[in-house]
């Protein structure tokens, strides 16, 4: 790599992790943050990015993005999604292990890393399988997965066959200091469900997933986290009581964190009224009270990250009667904008909102990104907070056009995205 020096001048620099919020120039040398405010000795830039009127933040980290490769390349590819993410200001994507084949061998980890490098856009980190083949029966080779680069372990949305195997996976993961990423779901209670069990499931006659499917699992998981001492993270909580249980556990000093997916902050079960497949999510959209509870949890910090829960699909996946459609929405395009919308809606202040998609997820994943400290690799997002765009099929870069936010006016437009000090997206060239 030739020696590059970049000056990002005149922008409002927001680095929540280091409590920076002000007009500062930012200097990048050889892919790393070299200085803030004053140029380092002997600095002369090859490139100057004019950030006047723009906001400069750490590159976004998306805690959960299905890239569909390997295994479901008809939906999307690592190449298409890493580039879409870069255009959305995201510099790091975390890929869960439910690919096909499952991420339970170093070979799959290596394949994903290799493809992501080829794409030359957002970086991809992986979660390894908690159990072999995600079948929930037998421990995976966690040490090997960790050595291959997995930043944590998870059984994705697949159930574990018993509380005993859960206990043993926690103990084994704790042996290597691996964080376990948990989807709180009691499989027997949620079986066959495709919507929140409540007013709408009764009205539409759709099999429901009760709130207790989540709270029962959180209670059980918390007990085993305390028993084993493993560091754990609850992925995509959907209910207010679950947020409260996690808050209580955190207060008690249990090493546990949690996040929420963007759709659950804006939508509720009521949006499914006309059997709209774009509102089919697993875990499901819950009640309006739950939505408020999640927003409060995000504000208080109980939920320290916000993620897109990106699930791109081909059009046919949503063209069927509701229960037969595939759940999830394509989300990397709108992660930044829907985070900014929380500020617009006066839910929170800009630095706090940015923290939930930068330093928050970095801490959960225990990765050295998500802030702009001198010496850090230069992962940077530069956006225009005063510009907006309309989400539709043409404005989405992801290969998956499935979204419940079609037609929404999105605040904030990404101008530049830098990863490792390289410009991986520029609105001028796109």
């Amino acid at each position: 790599m030739p020696k590059t020096s970049i000056k990002i001048s005149g922008g409002r620099l927001i680095d929540p992790c280091n409590q920076i919020d002000g007009l500062f120039d930012l200097y990048v040398v050889d892919g790393r943050i070299a200085a803030i405010g004053t140029a380092p000795d002997g600095f002369s830039e090859n490139i100057e990015l004019d950030a006047r009127g723009l906001v400069v933040t750490p590159g976004l980290i998306d805690l959960c993005a299905r890239l569909r490769e390997p295994g479901q390349e008809h939906k999307a590819s690592i190449d298409s999604e890493c580039k879409a993410a870069a255009a959305g200001g995201i510099t790091t994507l975390c890929c869960p292990p439910d690919t096909n084949p499952v991420i339970d061998t170093p070979a799959v980890v290596e394949l994903i890393r290799h493809r992501a490098q080829q794409a030359g856009a957002a970086r991809v980190v992986t979660l390894g399988a908690l159990t072999r083949g995600l079948r929930g029966e037998q421990l995976s080779e966690m040490a090997a997965l960790q050595q291959a680069g997995c930043v944590g372990v998870s059984n994705a949305l697949k159930p574990l066959t018993s509380t005993l195997i859960e206990r043993r996976t926690f103990e084994y993961a704790a042996t290597f200091g691996l964080t376990v990423f948990l989807h709180a779901d009691d499989a027997a209670l949620s079986a066959n469900g495709c919507i929140h069990e409540g007013q709408l499931s009764t009205r539409l006659g759709l099999p429901g997933i009760p709130q207790a499917a989540e709270t029962v699992a959180v209670a059980r998981d918390l007990a085993l986290i305390q028993q084993t001492g493993v560091r754990a993270h609850f992925c995509r909580l959907t209910t207010q009581p679950a947020v409260r249980m996690v808050a209580r556990a955190q207060f008690d000093g249990v090493p546990v964190s949690a996040d929420v997916a963007i759709p659950n902050l804006y939508l509720s079960e009521l949006d499914t009224i006309e059997f709209g497949a774009d509102y089919h999510f697993i875990p499901p959209l819950r009640t309006q009270e739950d939505r408020e509870g999640l927003r409060e949890g995000l504000l208080s910090g109980t939920l320290s990250a916000l993620c897109s829960d990106h699930q791109p699909h081909e059009p046919d996946a949503k063209l069927a009667p509701f229960p037969a459609t595939e759940p999830g929405a394509s989300g990397v395009d709108s992660l930044l904008s829907l985070t900014l919308k929380l500020v617009e809606d006066r839910q929170t202040l800009l630095p706090a909102a940015i923290a939930r998609v930068t330093s928050g997820p970095a801490k959960i994943l225990n990765i050295p990104y998500g802030d702009l400290a001198v010496g850090r690799v230069a992962d940077i997002c530069i956006f225009d907070p005063h510009s907006s765009w309309r989400l539709d099929e043409t404005s989405m870069n992801s290969q998956g056009k499935n979204t419940p936010f079609r037609g929404w006016e999105m605040p904030g437009r990404v101008r530049y995205t830098l990863r490792d000090g390289q410009i991986i997206f520029s609105s001028e060239t796109s």
Binding site: E197, G198, Q199, S201, T202, R203, L204, G205, L206, P207, G208, P210, L270, I273, E274, F275, D316, A317, K318, L319, A320, P321, F322, P323, A324, T325
Partner: protein
């Protein structure tokens, strides 16, 4: 909750019949009135009217059914339509693409109406959203969601038995509400027709959450729920549910919720007893009640044809239904 109504044309007439929810009292009354005019047709020696001559109706059944399909077929034939029955086994997993492809292929044959039954809730809505502008869809049962023609034939039966003023009636629905598309459609229809008191009676395992939001009063005791009722509708209970996790045994269900003459004595003396059939005798009700003077179970089947004729003739693109009155 606003519903973007697929079912009603811009001029207020029926476009599709997917659910009783989302319709209005005027349309439901029109269905009942039109059915009344067709009820006479069946009693004539020539049981046909030429209303839908030249129209093609496809019965698209993805789930097994004998009675419903037969009455739809008879109704279509009595309206002089051409009928095509397509049964796609419940066991065959039908993927979205296949369903849409099936639909498009049939539409290419210039079909005017689909009568659809499917195990997934929302299928009729899905199909209605994807058909050509001149094609109508009648829901013949989708998952646990809706079975609106069954509900309307029940309303027709009630109106014949009790008169048009639903406001003074207490109607009780007993049994497996949680899994019943019939019950949901009945509840919406009864409320749209301003029924004074709609009750459901079942153990908690058979009652779905937030059912009160549909406008019903919930009872767990059959005697209490039947007190002074004018109409009782017994729902069919799938036998396999009897040994599952929702009910301990047929015996206990019958003891608590089986309709007997003794329990009926709590209701008004002239109570009307209904059942969408087929009956599990000795489980949902005993034979004495099923075959007794207050039971209208067989009339329900007969009325089913007139009601389906009414819905088909109203939904299919044609002249106003009044023009069709014989």
């Amino acid at each position: 909750m606003s519903v973007n109504n697929l079912q009603i044309r811009t001029d207020g007439r029926l476009r599709h019949f997917l659910s009783t929810e989302g319709l209005n009292r005027g349309l439901l009354t029109e269905i009942l009135d039109t059915a009344e005019s067709f009820a006479g047709v069946a009693e004539q020696s020539v049981k046909k009217v030429p209303l839908l001559r030249g129209k093609t109706i496809v019965n698209l059944f993805f789930e097994a059914s004998t009675r419903t399909r037969t009455t739809f077929e008879l109704a279509a034939k009595r309206l002089s339509a051409d009928v095509l029955n397509i049964n796609i086994g419940a066991s065959a997993t039908v993927k979205g693409e296949t369903l849409l492809d099936t639909l498009r292929n049939l539409q290419a044959m210039h079909v005017d109406m689909f009568v659809v039954r499917h195990a997934d809730s929302g299928t009729a809505h899905f199909i209605a959203r994807h058909v050509l502008p001149h094609v109508s869809v009648i829901n013949a049962g989708d998952g646990r969601h809706a079975h609106p023609t069954q509900a309307m034939l029940d309303m027709f039966t009630i109106r014949r038995e009790k008169g048009a003023d639903f406001g003074r009636l207490s109607v009780a629905i007993v049994g497996d509400i949680a899994n019943s598309r019939v019950a949901r459609s009945q509840i919406h229809a009864l409320n749209l027709l301003n029924t004074g008191d709609v009750r459901i009676i079942a153990p908690r395992t058979l009652i779905p959450s937030h059912i009160e939001s549909l406008g019903v009063r919930v009872f767990h005791d059959l005697r209490e729920g039947l007190r002074d009722a004018d109409v009782v509708i017994m729902l069919r209970l799938q036998r396999e549910r009897m040994k599952g996790v929702v009910l301990p045994s047929e015996h206990e269900y019958y003891q608590l919720y089986g309709l007997t003459e003794e329990k009926l004595s709590m209701a008004k003396p002239d109570i009307t007893v209904m059942h969408p059939g087929p009956i599990n005798r000795g489980v949902e009700m005993d034979s004495q009640v099923a075959d007794g003077p207050r039971s209208v179970i067989l009339q329900q089947v007969t009325y089913g044809i007139a009601v389906r004729m009414a819905v088909m003739s109203m939904a299919i693109q044609q002249k106003t239904p009044q023009d069709g009155d014989a």
